[in-house]
């Protein structure tokens, strides 16, 4: 299936992309992270990230569905 990934902050700098559409067979968000981390060697470990699907925080063990927008959220620092 195809899913969309958006990148922000340190994740955007390490991938050089603000978003991309990927083809994946990963069943969980955790597996999506591992797959992309093999490619990009992200600057942040999974434990330092949160994950959002379609603009909502969800658990890394949740499943992905076709056309989901997935964002690995680096530590936030607003304010």
């Amino acid at each position: 299936m195809k899913i969309k990934i958006k990148y922000f902050a340190a994740m955007r700098e390490s991938t050089g992309k603000s978003s991309e559409v990927i083809e994946t067979t990963a069943t969980s968000l955790s597996a999506v992270y591992d797959e992309l981390n093999d490619r990009y060697h992200f600057p942040l470990n999974r434990d330092d990230l949160k994950v959002a699907v379609n603009e909502k925080y969800v658990d890394f063990e949740e499943a992905v569905s076709p056309d989901d927008t997935v964002v690995f959220i680096p530590p936030v620092a607003g304010g």
Binding site: A9, R12, V76
Partner: protein, 148 residues
């Protein structure tokens, strides 16, 4: 009303004849952080989600505290020393509720809204401010943040 803006924050007018107390909070860009001299700050947001999470926080605030109105604006882009990064205004009949609601909003914004900041320094490479540092700051009041 929760909004993200790329421009200088323009305060929203909130008025209500029942209001007896107004508390305004502004988070400014400081000239120092964690012992380093800061020259400017770059804020980036996942805007669509930031606005949703921000509105959720305001909804929670209305449920938790007896307030009349509340608004929050967060700026993104390149900010200079002294610029306001975030502005929060709360109206209530009595002042305790306005103070409490104001603190709740800024605490939640800082911990949940998907906004990031990159600090630019006088003497070294810029870096994204990481949350484990923010978190330890929040707990122990170290000076780990450029905006508090």
């Amino acid at each position: 009303m929760f909004a993200i803006t790329e421009n200088k924050i323009r305060e929203k007018q909130l008025g209500d004849d029942r209001a007896g107390a107004v508390v305004i909070f502004e988070g400014l860009v400081r000239n120092h952080n964690d012992g380093k001299k800061v020259t400017c700050l770059e804020y980036q947001a996942y805007i669509e989600m930031a606005e949703k999470v921000g509105q959720e926080i305001l909804n929670e605030t209305f449920n938790k505290f007896d307030i009349i109105d509340a608004a929050c604006i967060h700026r993104v882009g390149m900010l200079q020393i002294g610029d306001a990064a975030v502005w929060i205004k709360v109206l209530s009949a009595h002042r305790d509720e306005a103070y409490q609601a104001s603190k709740y909003i800024i605490d939640e914004v800082k911990s949940r809204v998907p906004i990031w900041k990159k600090e630019h320094y006088v003497d070294q490479e810029p870096e994204w401010v990481a949350c484990h540092r923010c978190a330890s700051h929040e707990e122990h009041h170290h000076s780990h943040e450029a905006v508090t």
